[in-house]
């Protein structure tokens, strides 16, 4: 994937089990302006599937998923509404 854009907000959900990472994302996505990107940092393998699935259900675009050097991913989501 192309290099990630700078997120307006980074949510640190490392060490948190699903569904907590997407609960944190749902709570905080409205804190960024429209079309800004939120990065969810997570290392629960379920988050790798669940964050993009949440994006599909909630109609927020999933921008990309980037591996973190220490393990886990930065999953980027664009606020759509």
């Amino acid at each position: 994937m192309s290099s990630p854009v700078q997120p307006a907000l980074t949510i640190d959900a490392l060490g948190k089990k699903c569904p907590i990472p997407i609960i944190m994302l749902a709570e905080q996505i409205n804190a960024v302006p429209l079309n800004a990107v939120v990065a969810v940092l997570a290392d629960d393998p379920a988050a790798y599937t669940d964050v993009p699935a949440w994006c599909r259900l909630k109609s927020h675009p999933h921008v990309g998923t980037y591996e973190l050097p220490q393990g886990g991913w930065a999953i980027h989501v664009r606020r759509n509404y």
């Binding site: 699903c18 569904p19 599937t49 699935a53 259900l57």
Partner: protein, 388 residues
């Protein structure tokens, strides 16, 4: 307790219970021996084998009995690979196959050394074919994968065990036939409910899922399929399954299969209507929920949905407290490290997942009561998790 977990196991059919009790007295002797009680056991076993074979679209001499559906899959995958060593050891399987298929294929392709040299396109190992959002295998990708050089075996389920989606077995079988690759069909979720699709080389099924007793699986190997058992030589069950045969349980399984198939048409229609009710009502009653799996091309008795922001284990525990036995493919728990490979491959939520699977005779009133209690259970769990 409303039992809504038939996809895990179907309660014993009354016809099977009766046959089991009778045959414990009449069919206990060793069917391989030559005296009266042994001949009686042999006759009972032969009759049961003939009946089960005919019901599943096999010949009696193609059918061996195993201890479970999982064992049938394990022996089927390993035996088919053993018979194809000259070709290679590559296995193609749908990404949402039962774990028994994926584990046996991984083991078999690593431990059955192909005598043919590996090529770049035909390297050994397990190749999983992606599925759609509804869990249906990508047919074009499946056909392309089986036609690659070095492919020893292809595997496809009739219906998915977690979401109920039917797989395009007949079309996949045609692709396998063209490529000259044997196809193992895992019919565990549909045998006894739906006709077994044509085109299999190896077939696996499980009696306790159609109302038979536990401890009986079916391994059928089509005439002309190269098969070499992975286990030590044994004279029982055509050398495919070692050990003493459980005649009473097999006779009971045949009785259950006969009874289930006789009821299947009417019962499938009734259960399918209840599944449609759940599929329609759950999203109306519960916010932030997704019903998954194919709405039409599905097993008649299985429906699965996922609730956002809900821990699946907490949800199942609450439903159990309220008198509902249901299951979940989600595994966001301390006891399992990985989410469900089925939900992952589909790209749907892997948490908050509930599978409702209706046994024979499931009551409409129980399904309606389930729909009545579900919204408040989900609401309370979300409230506790801090989701307004």
């Amino acid at each position: 307790m409303a039992y809504l977990d038939a996809a895990s196991t179907e309660p014993l059919h009354p016809a099977a219970r009766e046959a089991l009790l009778t045959t414990l007295d009449t069919g206990w002797a060793d069917p391989a021996r030559l005296y009266g009680s042994a001949r009686r056991a042999r006759l009972l076993l032969d009759q049961a084998r003939t009946e089960i074979a005919e019901s599943l679209g096999a010949r009696p001499d193609e059918v061996s009995f195993t201890a479970s559906g999982t064992q049938a899959v394990h022996l089927g995958v390993l035996g088919a690979l053993g018979g194809r060593r000259r070709v290679g050891s590559r296995v193609v399987a749908g990404a949402v196959e039962h774990s028994s298929v994926l584990h046996a294929a991984t083991l078999g392709s690593a431990t059955t050394p192909a005598t043919a040299p590996a090529t770049a396109s035909g390297s050994p190992g397990l190749v999983t074919v992606p599925v759609s959002l509804t869990g249906r295998v990508d047919l074009a990708a499946f056909a392309a994968a089986v036609s690659a050089e070095g492919t020893a075996l292809a595997c496809l389920q009739t219906a998915n065990h977690e979401v109920g989606t039917l797989q395009p077995v007949a079309e996949a079988a045609a692709a396998c036939r063209t490529a000259g690759v044997p196809l193992l069909v895992d019919a565990c979720q549909t045998a006894g409910r739906l006709p077994v699709p044509d085109g299999w080389s190896v077939l696996a099924a499980s009696a306790h899922k159609w109302g038979g007793p536990s401890g009986v699986g079916v391994l059928a190997v089509r005439k002309g399929t190269r098969f070499r058992s992975a286990l030590p030589e044994d004279e029982r069950e055509r050398g495919r399954v070692p050990g003493f045969v459980n005649v009473p349980a097999i006779v009971a399984s045949a009785a259950a299969l006969r009874a289930s198939l006789a009821e299947a048409e009417a019962e499938n229609a009734r259960l399918s209507a209840l599944v449609d009710l759940v599929r329609r009502r759950v999203p109306e009653l519960v916010p932030d929920v997704e019903v998954i799996g194919d709405p039409v091309e599905r097993a008649p008795h299985i429906v699965t949905f996922s609730c956002l922001y809900v821990d699946g284990e907490v949800l199942l525990t609450e439903l159990d407290r309220l008198g509902f036995a249901v299951s979940s493919g989600s595994s966001c728990t301390a006891s399992t490290l990985r989410p469900s490979h089925v939900l992952e491959a589909m790209g749907v939520l892997t948490h908050g997942n509930v599978r409702v699977s209706l046994p024979r005779g499931a009551q409409a009133a129980d399904v309606e009561r389930f729909l009545t209690v579900l919204p408040d259970v989900v609401r309370r769990i979300r409230l506790d998790a801090g989701v307004a």
